[in-house]
Symmetry: C2
Subunit: 678 residues, 2 copies
């Protein structure tokens, strides 16, 4: 799996030994130049007299705090302190040190840059800046987007006196509280009744999907970070602790027992910490993240602002501010409502890269969509569209207003129409039962006919996206008109809407040309009738492999590209995420077929190659073409580095991921500036 | 759509006029140097005295046969005959000539190489060879695979005195006979009762899919060659006449009336000719194609063989024999049974490029597959596999025997397991009704649970192909063992089986490595236990876009590539053929988004680019890598030219398409040799 050739041979190290177990004047210890948990400066470490290294690590003998060495052997202690200072100044970072004292003589065994918690990473980076050891650019390389993301999850209250009853693997971060439930169907039922539940299983399999969806979090006693539970929970963004082997899960009696003897029965409340892997009995209070409060603006990161800011918040503030100064790549958010748009703006988004219009067809409006689908002729269809248009317009007014002065990319309707109708199988059963009972199925029968007509074997590869726009007369036109009128209304009110109209699922330039020509006509009409200049761009998603392969042609008709890397991954790998993530991804990760799910981090070799081809050939055909990405990969650190390397103009991600993307975009800029100049 | 810039301007031709309508000594006519219908040499054409060209073409005045001109104006006739000979010798082909006689003086208006029927094309090409006007290479360029395909459809008996009651467009070739039916549901019901039906509609839409599947042929009164009926029928390979506008289709009264007044009511038998567009009342006798009889070996194409061969069959024989001598690209067939393999061999296949193993899991064996899926543990699963293995082995023995000495590429199981189970919706309805009636659903309930567990939103992008092989323990191993044992059995009997094991749906080299390593182990075991040398190759389909994009890596583990261009097209365009062909392809063809369905002819710009990348990079990584194609495109003339240009080693297609592929591969070779040397 690691592709190491078997004939490379084995390396041998030869070194002399020193002994910490030669009696009272001997000993061994580990030392940190700073606290790896909090980042605080000071003397941290453990010392054990008359012992060797394994004794410290194994935890079978109680160690002393490192400070105690000062009393035991002042000379060695002084020497150690001086060496630690030398090491930290040399490495300009927290050092993790192992040492041995043999009969009063101090020997250094090894040192390395030490591991630390996410919070410590931010604090240490800014402390080192304040000490003049590193500059802000380098500080930025010392923290990661993944660490920032960790700091943004809610956490259990540190001041709570809860002690874990077990600890498993931190498979998917977050803090979840709920009633323990031992099978997925019951979890689903209880959740439907308004209970918050934690699904507890030995291990999960594809049959548990409904329970996992229903639960606040998932706890398993078997399996590692690539187990089914872990992979699927991460895909869902749901808290998960897995492989808590000290739990004896008794599915038959619906309970588990910890090694310490605590029994949790079905319905008992438990709390699980997906960041630490800890499991608690009862409800542990959950604290909001101060970092999120900072981004939300409820607490300030600026020391000048009067009060005493939290040191962590101040560190985050300084580093993200520097990242913003350094980065070339813009960061936008995916947001479909004014509320999301406002939050995204607070979180630093510089526009909306993906405003989906699907939700605007749900709720009360589903009726109009049904009317549209069941329309007997042009008049009925137009009536349904006419009913939808003012609702859509009001949606867009709200979103454009929230993002005033910043670009908003609106994606025309993407999903197949049957998604707005009832499920085929459920409806078939209802109608069959009604017939069996001699009841009149009425509208349900008409609906069933429509659902059957629109039923697709593979909806992801069916009548959706631009295909819908070309086949359903007036649909995209209605949306474009609503967008144009919303923009004109705001312009008239002195606002500055910046609209980008995005056509989904384009595979051939001719599709785009057809929609673009219609859109341009409608934009001109609205401009004419309102007297407002509408400088809307018309562009396309690149999410079908063929679009990437013919990007040079498509760029002739597109004013911008936005990669839909989720669909590009699905089609490029031939994966339907809903089907495969639960069905076999954990096995694939175990087999090493991939190291990380290609839905988490972009598969650079395959899908990334399409991104690179499309960017290069699109820009060759239309110099200065604006190119971004609006898939979930836009918020993934590794993927962001790749997108920056390819030279994308922006990434767009969920509002909560915007700070992560800002930080990573800054880190890329600093790293590439560094590699250029050194 | 044609991408002609609007600023190109319009060309103007200026020429002097002659008049054929100056009285009795004047006239006009058309002449062919050979009969464009049969290819026979002689004087063919029409003449009209005192007339201009439009009068001949319009058909409002009755023309004379060209021979009559000899009586009217012998001098002009003699001059015309001499010019016709000059023209044919110059063009070395059938010429289509227009002339006018103005007051006794012959003027030639224009000539061009004339259109001809498929049969005439073959006859004329070989006649010209016999006359020494062209050589066999050039003769090969005068016929096409599409023409040969036309000659292979069954036809209505020419000697029948049936006269068409109407003529529409020849939308999809073949000869179909059945009862006229005017709605799709009834067509489905009648077909289920054993009736042969012709679906008659004004036009079809996606709701007619069930009727089109059930019918022998489709007849519509509206729409052209890109109408829904035409596109879908061609996709199904089903006879279709569309746009027969002289038919008045009265759906309400379930009948149609022709312009001539014939009324056909539902249930009346009609016959439709998809090659000519003719519609007949009643049953017209269908004749087998003599060209197919030739390939089947029931009639001979060799004149030396004694009897007098059909001139057409002899022409086909000479040209296909020459194509075989000329071509570099091999032709294989897709065949899953010994019968198909034998026919393919008769039709000239040089191996099997795709032997699907799906059908081997159907029929009586479905029970074992159900057992495999419902297996409660390893033992039950192994028992199901053990029951399947000898059946599979017997299948392979038959196929390898039929293809003795030629390569057979066996594809390991590809479709998702739920394809072997009942339909989810139908089963849900049955179980719900059983419950409603208080009956015990029994095994159906257990099946429903399994179907629900295996249910996929997008089965094409789900748990199938190599994924199945990696997730279901023992499945691929059982298949490989059956293949190996079958080969060993034949070797022991002195036969020469040449086995290629093909892994489907590979997207990453690691998938292939894992299966290959297992397969190699099993092959070695069987070799060991039987003492027979098994030189089986292990290779992969290239049908997932990512596989094409990482072909260099995959070639390290693959001993051959075979492009599955059908899936590559589906995934590359993001199209599910079942869903999109009926839903919107006709509209797309109308809009000019593509000129031909990408399932008929390979989309060279998009999907072809993947084929090119994978071939080049695969061969760069493994020089001499054997590369073929086994999608339906392997039998499409345009696609074959592209595959030859890319340098594939072989194409594989359905047995009936093998002669077409042989001819086209020969044509490519002759054309490229021509362009090299001239």
């Amino acid at each position: 799996q690691e592709r190491i050739p078997a004939d490379l041979g084995t390396a041998v190290n030869i070194c002399s030994m020193v002994f910490g177990n030669l009696g009272k004047g001997s000993g061994t210890g580990v030392a940190f130049t700073r606290d790896p948990g909090s980042g605080q400066q000071g003397v941290y470490g453990d010392y054990l007299e008359n012992a060797q290294g394994e004794d410290v690590v194994a935890g079978i003998r109680n160690t002393l705090q490192l400070q105690a060495l000062e009393q035991i052997d002042q000379q060695s202690y002084g020497e150690l302190m001086s060496i630690m200072e030398t090491l930290e100044n040399h490495y300009r970072d927290l050092c993790d040190i192992e040492f041995t004292i043999e009969s009063g003589k101090l020997w250094m065994l090894q040192t390395r840059v030490g591991k630390r918690t996410a919070g410590a990473a931010f604090r240490i980076a800014t402390q080192l800046v304040d000490q003049g050891l590193i500059d802000l650019d380098e500080a930025l390389t010392r923290v990661t987007g993944a660490q920032l993301a960790q700091l943004m999850f809610p956490r259990f209250d540190d001041s709570s006196d809860a002690t874990p009853i077990a600890t498993g693997m931190s498979a998917s971060p977050g803090a979840a509280v709920g009633k323990a439930v031992f099978d997925s169907d019951r979890a689903e039922t209880m959740a439907a009744n308004g209970d918050q539940v934690i699904l507890v299983r030995r291990e999960t399999n594809p049959d548990d999907l409904n329970g996992m969806i229903a639960a606040q979090g998932i706890l398993t006693s078997r399996g590692g970070k690539t187990s089914h539970a872990a992979v699927v929970a991460r895909g869902m963004g749901k808290t998960c602790v897995c492989g808590a082997e000290e739990l004896d899960v008794d599915l038959k009696n619906r309970r588990f027992v910890t090694r310490g003897g605590t029994t949790i029965a079905e319905g008992d409340v438990i709390s699980i910490d997906g960041t630490s892997g800890d499991v608690y009995a009862g409800k542990v209070p959950v604290m909001p993240s101060p970092v999120v409060q900072y981004f939300e603006g409820t607490i300030t990161g600026d020391a000048i602002d009067g009060g005493q800011p939290d040191e962590l918040v101040l560190a985050v503030h300084r580093l993200i501010t520097h990242a913003d100064e350094a980065r070339q790549m813009r960061v936008r958010a995916n947001a479909d409502t004014p509320e999301d748009a406002e939050r995204a703006r607070r979180f630093g988004a510089e526009g909306i890269g993906l405003c989906r219009t699907e939700h605007m067809f749900l709720g009360d409006r589903r009726q109009h969509v049904e009317d549209l689908i069941l329309a007997a002729g042009d008049d009925e269809r137009q009536a349904a569209l006419d009913a939808l248009e003012p609702l859509q317009r009001a949606d867009f007014v709200g979103i454009f207003e929230a993002m005033d002065g910043l670009p908003v990319t609106v994606r025309l309707l993407d999903p197949p129409l049957h998604e707005f109708l009832p499920d085929f199988t459920e409806l078939s059963v209802r109608v069959a039962l009604a017939e069996e009972r001699g009841e009149d199925a009425g509208r349900e029968q008409a609906l069933l006919d429509a659902v059957r007509r629109l039923h697709e074997s593979n909806p992801m590869l069916g009548l959706r996206g631009v295909r819908l726009g070309l086949i359903v007369p007036g649909l995209y036109g209605m949306q474009v008109r609503a967008i144009a009128e919303a923009a004109a209304e705001l312009k008239a009110a002195g606002k500055d809407p910046r609209v980008e109209i995005m056509v989904p699922l384009v595979g051939a330039v001719q599709e785009l040309e057809s929609i673009r020509d219609d859109a341009r006509k409608i934009l001109a009409e609205v401009q004419q009738s309102t007297g407002q200049d509408l400088d809307a761009l018309v562009g396309t998603m690149i999410e079908v492999p063929r679009a990437a392969l013919t990007a040079g042609q498509i760029a002739e008709a597109a004013e911008f590209f936005s990669f839909g890397t989720n669909d590009l991954t699905q089609m490029g790998w031939g994966f339907s995420r809903d089907d495969v993530e639960s069905a076999f991804f954990s096995r694939y990760l175990e087999l090493g077929i991939f190291g990380v799910s290609p839905f988490e981090s972009l598969d650079v070799e395959g899908i990334g190659r399409l991104v690179r081809i499309a960017t290069e050939e699109g820009r060759a055909a239309r110099p200065g073409l604006k190119v971004g990405v609006c898939g979930e990969h836009g918020g993934d650190p590794d993927s962001i580095h790749f997108f920056a390397e390819v030279g994308l103009d922006y990434v767009s991600c969920s509002p909560f991921r915007v700070p992560v993307a800002r930080l990573e975009a800054g880190r890329v800029a600093v790293a590439s500036a560094g590699s250029d100049s050194r």
